[in-house]
Symmetry: C2
């Protein structure tokens, strides 16, 4: 309960009078006592009674007549009663609200966001990095500095396209990845999710086809479903999206967009090599279909040099790049970006304006300062080292505790491990049992187009201590073994 | 230019080699020098050359063959050249991007957000309060405290519905306004604009009719246009939306939503009295049409007690309440709220998830702490006092400098003054002249449904010093007098 918003005294006096009107003790036309008299009667100040009368008058329940006093208004009793609740059956317009397209996915996304609150249990469901490694002190210093120096100027409205300083920092960051970016060509969004959703809104009408890797990021599926897209899942191999399948889909015609996560694909961790990247860029351009490249995970990596983003291999503007610093810096910043040709960028900025006006200038300035300081590069090295160690622990634990027939690959980056369960094991059933045993994970079906049980689970290892990883995987492994009836690796 | 992202040395080496490949100096199959030799030749470390080779391999431009060395890959020259720019005429899919429905309004909204950057001039265009009065120190202290104590836990992902603590603070705030609110019934949004846009998305399909006060908040018009709504403008009198006109619109049928700003209506400042509020609530409920009440300006007020929100007069759930603390606390917080029946609230939360996942937990916690501290109530009193004084100055300046035939009303709250120009004076023409003379304002047409010149201008007095108000209004007044050809009040 908010102390600051406790009822002030005058409102209690007012409510007393309203109660009297409702009970019939003060019918219309009743003359109210003078301020002084009521104040004496109730043991409160005259000012309090005056405020109560003012409030009643603002509500239209009493009226002051010049030179004769204050009276209960006509119909005051009826007015004071709140508008009656409707008969059961709900509000007539509620029936028009369609249910979510995929309730299972909605549930999983909810868990992914809430995952860290697991308390005693072990949650591999979480979608972000380890909160204990977030650059809290750096941001505390930066925000403190901004508020001390820029003062209110850092806290007013902001241009919808985004803070110019942050866009310059983002352009410098992207140019380092060989992406020909300028501050002018960029727009700042509320995480990469908003960028994805706005691009989908711009380019896809209900019933139109969009190709995605399957499995893929549930947030993209949610945005496509909201747009009414017909989602075409393209399988992956160890080099990412299968272009032979994509080409077949492109030949069928009518494709409006290709959404891809070529770097540390979520949930499988796959990295598309440079050769296939070039092929994808050419294939899409040849068919005149734009590519939406999601590059939200690049900076958490355990191996060597990564191939450049698709956007670096394309000078035509046919590759639209979105990214964010949610995973690599701070979820709470809620900042992502969009790099797109001018016409699309302008469309997105205009639509963002009618959606939420602008992103917080305070957080934009803070992110810009953080990126410029060089702290970000050091931070990425540090978390990559810690997460790589945790990945090794998870890898060993999976090998130790899971039965034969379970498959997974050690990804070269990203915070998750994608595990294929043995034939006949239901991820849905496993999820219920695991939650009961204090272990959570993201069931595979959230990452597929159609809502159906899938023999996959996604495990986040980044946010969990090594001992807890071992414990959680042991618990899961026992459940999987029990489900397969095999105890071959006890 | 971002120092942190200057090109590291190995990338310069890499770019040298790429240049050589492009120039034809190293055709496919060329054997590259050993690490040691190239390092000596270039005067860099072996590690630098190794990193350059790794980068080239990640790009697929060179390949290492076991026991025989490193070679330029087949087709490397073609691969190294960025994908060719398309012939002029643009990308094929760009043609599908519709232009903004109302470019004049987009322009004005852009100015409203950027207005304070006017430099030497006087900008009455600004849509927010005075940045010099923002509670910067309070937020600096609160954010510092949160980061010191909650650390990373305050910076992770957040539930899409909103931080539970903030929702509890909002519920307490609303109960103080007699609105029956609970933390559970509330959703946190990115400003009230996002709440408006999500409700419109939920309830309005293309071609369906929505009633709004005309003029009204351009952001609401933008959201309605994005949804493809047929917008029906209902005129206001001195008590707000005219219910006789609204009733006629309701009788015609097919109305899906009524959007209203009953308290300090933007742009006119009108306050709808309690009696008409009750009538509106009943009328809408009788026709089964939901009311979207926008209560974003309540806390900046110059008069006595305000009538309660419509949502306090309705127990049926037919009134959907949205609000924000953008105007009364801090634009940079980007926080608003939605109070709606369970089914609509759930729909909005699910759609927000696919749009931008969640609002910054750091800013949510900070806003909650600020509201709970009691600082907010003191702040509202302070800014109301300052803005009231500036309103009096603007009022006097308008009377002094504007010719007869100009009309305006002193509103009981809010940061703006809505001025009707004399017959024959074009707000568009006045705007160009005024900007030339160093004075900006929001032209009236942004607040109307159809894009057409309107004889109105909106002047924000809240953010401007009294001397500058006087100076700016004098400049404007001279231009208006010149346009009317009257010099009757020189």
């Amino acid at each position: 309960m908010a102390q600051a918003f406790d009822q002030p005294l005058y409102r209690r006096v007012r409510d007393e009078i309203v109660g009297e009107i409702l009970r019939g003790g003060a019918p219309a036309g009743t003359r109210l006592p003078s301020l002084r008299r009521l104040a004496q009667e109730l043991g409160v100040s005259r000012i309090t009674v005056e405020a109560a009368y003012e409030a009643l008058e603002a509500q239209g329940l009493i009226e002051t007549r010049a030179r004769s006093g204050t009276f209960v208004a006509a119909h005051a009793a009826a007015e004071a009663a709140p508008h009656a609740a409707r008969a059961r059956g709900g509000l007539p317009w509620e029936a028009r609200l369609a249910a979510a397209a995929n309730p299972a996915r909605e549930r999983v996304l909810g868990q992914v966001l809430r995952g860290a609150e697991g308390g005693e249990g072990v949650s591999f469901a979480w979608g972000a990095g380890d909160p204990r490694l977030f650059p809290v002190d750096a941001f505390r210093a930066i925000i403190g500095r901004i508020l001390r120096h820029a003062r209110g100027a850092a806290l007013g409205p902001e241009d919808t396209q985004g803070n110019a300083q942050l866009r310059a920092s983002l352009a410098a960051y992207l140019r380092r990845l060989d992406v020909p970016a300028s501050a002018e060509a960029l727009a700042v969004t509320s995480g990469s999710q908003q960028a994805i959703d706005l691009v989908v809104t711009a380019l896809v009408r209900p019933g139109e086809r969009v190709a995605v890797e399957e499995p893929t990021w549930p947030g993209a599926l949610g945005a496509l479903e909201a747009a009414g897209a017909e989602i075409v899942g393209v399988p992956l191999d160890h080099e990412g999206m299968r272009l032979d399948v994509l080409e077949r889909v492109l030949r069928e015609g009518g494709l409006r967009l290709i959404y891809t996560v070529p770097t540390f694909h979520n949930p499988t961790g796959t990295v598309m090599p440079a050769g296939r990247r070039r092929e994808l860029v050419r294939l899409a351009a040849r068919h005149g279909v734009p590519v939406l490249e999601d590059d939200a995970l690049r900076e958490v990596r355990f191996g060597g040099v990564l191939p450049p983003p698709l956007a670096a291999l394309d000078a035509s503007g046919n590759v639209i790049l979105v990214g964010s610093f949610t995973k690599s810096v701070l979820p709470a910043a809620r900042l992502g970006y969009l790099l797109a040709p001018a016409k699309l960028r302008d469309w997105v900025v205009a639509r963002k304006r009618s959606r939420d006006l602008y992103c917080s200038p305070l957080l934009q300035r803070a992110m810009s300062a953080y990126l410029e300081s060089g702290d970000a590069v050091r931070h990425w090295k540090r978390i990559s080292r810690v997460y790589a160690a945790r990945q090794r622990v998870m890898d060993a634990a999976l090998a130790r505790h899971f039965p034969r027939g379970v498959r997974w690959r050690r990804a070269a980056g990203g915070p998750v491990c994608w595990v294929q369960l043995p034939e006949g094991v239901s991820a849905r059933a496993l999820f219920s049992q695991a939650v009961h045993a204090g272990v959570a994970f993201a069931p595979g079906e959230a990452f597929f187009v159609a809502p159906a049980d899938q023999p996959f689970i996604r495990l986040n290892f980044a946010a969990i201590d090594e001992a807890r990883i071992e414990r959680g995987i042991a618990t899961l492994g026992a459940l999987v073994r029990a489900a397969t009836g095999k105890e071959d690796r006890a």
